[in-house]
């Protein structure tokens, strides 16, 4: 009996590890091919497209890539401006809104929370025509503010912060601060925000990543080459000008995902925890 369950458990492990290993390869291989092909020239790629060993043509590919419209530095800078500002606005104002929902007993509190839950799922695609026309009329297309300012109202982030606050913000602390004569705004900034740090860090990662990766709204709003964010830059690689420059295309892709890879492997523990914690899609 015991023998049987032991052999069964070995079989279980063999199956589990083979499937997991296969999936792991599936996760890594496309990116591996991308990084390797970024160092190979068009001739090599046309001979054998699949190679696991890097070659020596990285510099040539860089020259080809940068010789055309693709400008990774510009994309990087623009994406940085948009993503960093959006992230800062989202985490600060989401914490503030969540605080209003948790710490104060106001008449419309419950309807307001219901409203936040209701609008959490509305995607940009639904309002894009009105949004574009509105921005066009006030001359804000090609203006990063059109992408940054809306981050003040991030329903999903408010929901996440509220859940965290309910669990870990002791209301006595606020009372104590009031007794000490601190203003409500001061209490929020100096006492509540430091307690919210873990939730803000998690939310910051997800807001940053989703803003960095966002293609739809920037593609609609930004028509000026100088304003292109990274995902729009990437879309240029699909165009005719890089049609035969395989190595350069792979290199361009590699450059766009490299910062994300670095960030992911540095922060993976928190990211994995954050996904499990929030259950909220970014």
């Amino acid at each position: 009996m015991k023998q049987r369950s032991k052999s069964k458990s070995i079989l279980f492990k063999v199956v589990v590890y083979s499937v997991c290993l296969l999936l792991a390869i599936l996760s890594v291989l496309p990116f591996w091919v991308m990084f390797v092909n970024a160092t190979r020239d068009t001739y090599q790629i046309q001979q054998t497209a699949l190679s696991l060993i890097p070659s020596t043509h990285l510099m040539d590919n860089i020259k080809i890539l940068l010789g055309k419209t693709f400008d990774p530095m510009k994309g990087l800078t623009n994406s940085m401006i948009v993503s960093v500002s959006s992230t800062l606005l989202t985490i600060y104002f989401s914490a503030l809104t969540a605080y209003a929902l948790v710490a104060y007993n106001w008449k419309l509190r419950s309807p307001f929370f219901t409203f936040i839950l209701a609008v959490m799922m509305i995607p940009a695609q639904v309002s894009v025509i009105g949004f574009y026309q509105f921005m066009y009329k006030i001359g804000m297309t090609n203006n990063f503010l059109a992408l940054i300012l809306p981050s003040v109202a991030a329903p999903a982030a408010v929901f996440f912060m509220r859940q965290f606050m309910l669990a870990s913000l002791p209301l006595e602390l606020i009372e104590a601060s009031r007794i000490d004569g601190a203003s409500e705004f001061y209490t929020f900034n100096k006492i509540v925000l430091p307690i919210m740090k873990p939730a803000m860090a998690t939310q910051a990662i997800f807001t940053f990543v989703s803003s960095w990766n966002s293609l739809f709204l920037p593609l609609v709003l930004l028509t000026d080459n100088d304003k292109y964010t990274m995902p729009i830059m990437v879309s240029l690689l699909r165009g005719d000008i890089y049609k035969t420059e395989y190595g350069a295309v792979y290199l361009g892709l590699a450059l766009t995902v490299l910062p994300l890879f670095i960030a992911y492997f540095l922060l993976s523990r928190y990211i994995i925890e954050g996904v499990a914690l929030g259950g909220v899609k970014g």
């Binding site: 997991c20 639904v126 025509i129 996904v275």
Partner: protein, 326 residues
């Protein structure tokens, strides 16, 4: 005295929500309403600023609903979503069962989780173009791989076939999202009371029985959450189909989002038709989130009440303490 304190602090609830409310009203609510209005007008053409309401108010909606491409887009969205979701949820459930198995601890869980989730955070635009390059013909990494393993003996031109193009888009979606779904489900299992499992173990249930009779029923709400958010996400699918094959070949990977984009921001800039399509999408999404909302609401309301009770108790206690101190 207590009464007075409540009244004087309540206003901060409004003040602190104000930035959210103002920005939401300007950048989300107004554009949605405006989009709805445009759906009833003759607004089209790049740079046009004037528009008029149509004599037949629902003309754009009728046109869109009878539009072959829009119907095709709805159909594609449904096909691609189904092709991606069924394997995704099955794979996620399987991995969840393995990773949370109490009898057979899987080593390296953390490592696998990191790798499985990885594609989810990488820019979808880059992934779409990467897969386009990987599947290229006649020489491409996927063709080389399949030929090396002897699965095919001459290169396949994957991207000309409608079925293949859809399958690849569905695969990319699956590949990007099963790790996320698995993480959500495993965290759901962690939330199940361990005593139930202990009781089951004493009763001698097998691992498979435990999964089907304890884990799965307890994950019902989370599974519904995953299903509905994935459906909404599926409807919004844009980056991958747009950049992978531009909706082609022959509109086979045209999704509703790509359709809206193409109508409004290319060709003859039919803002009114795109707006009508947006509103149709909005209705579908509203129905989905209504269901989700209904299921999730009860829980949070109970939570609010509980929390209000606790806060009240806490205030009473503090008051008493204060009074005692005086």
């Amino acid at each position: 005295m207590k009464q007075k304190r409540n009244v004087s602090y309540a206003k901060y609830g409004y003040i602190f929500s104000l930035p959210f409310i103002i920005v939401f009203a300007i950048f989300s609510l107004y554009p949605i309403i405006y989009t709805g209005v445009i759906g009833f007008t003759d607004y089209k053409g790049l740079g046009t600023t004037t528009w008029h309401f149509l004599d037949e108010p629902f003309k754009n909606f009728v046109t869109i609903l009878n539009n072959g491409s829009f119907r095709q887009a709805l159909k594609n969205t449904f096909i691609i979503w189904t092709l991606n979701f069924i394997p995704q949820i099955l794979m996620a459930l399987l991995l969840t069962a393995w990773f949370t198995s109490r009898r057979n601890k899987v080593r390296g869980k953390g490592f696998f989780k990191v790798l499985f989730y990885m594609p989810n955070i990488i820019t979808a635009a880059s992934i779409a173009i990467l897969f386009y390059a990987l599947f290229s013909y006649p020489v491409g990494p996927v063709n080389s791989l399949l030929m090396q393993f002897g699965i095919i003996d001459k290169p396949v031109y994957f991207l000309v076939s409608k079925a293949n193009a859809r399958a690849i888009v569905a695969f990319i979606q699956f590949w990007m999202w099963y790790g996320y779904t698995m993480l959500i489900l495993t965290s759901g299992v962690m939330g199940i009371n361990p005593e139930i499992y202990e009781a089951a173990e004493i009763d001698g249930t097998s691992g498979i029985q435990t999964f089907f009779y304890i884990t799965l029923p307890n994950l019902k709400t989370i599974l519904l959450y995953v299903l509905i958010t994935s459906m909404i996400g599926g409807l919004n699918m844009f980056d991958i189909p747009k950049l992978f094959m531009q909706g082609g070949p022959d509109n086979s990977t045209l999704t509703t989002s790509v359709f809206i984009y193409n109508q409004a921001f290319s060709g003859s800039y039919l803002y009114n038709r795109a707006a009508a399509a947006s509103m149709i999408m909005f209705v579908i999404i509203a129905i989905f989130s209504g269901i989700l909302f209904y299921v999730m609401r009860d829980k949070s309301e109970i939570e609010i009440k509980k929390e209000a009770k606790r806060a009240k108790k806490e205030r009473m206690r503090l008051l008493e303490e204060q009074e005692a101190a005086q």
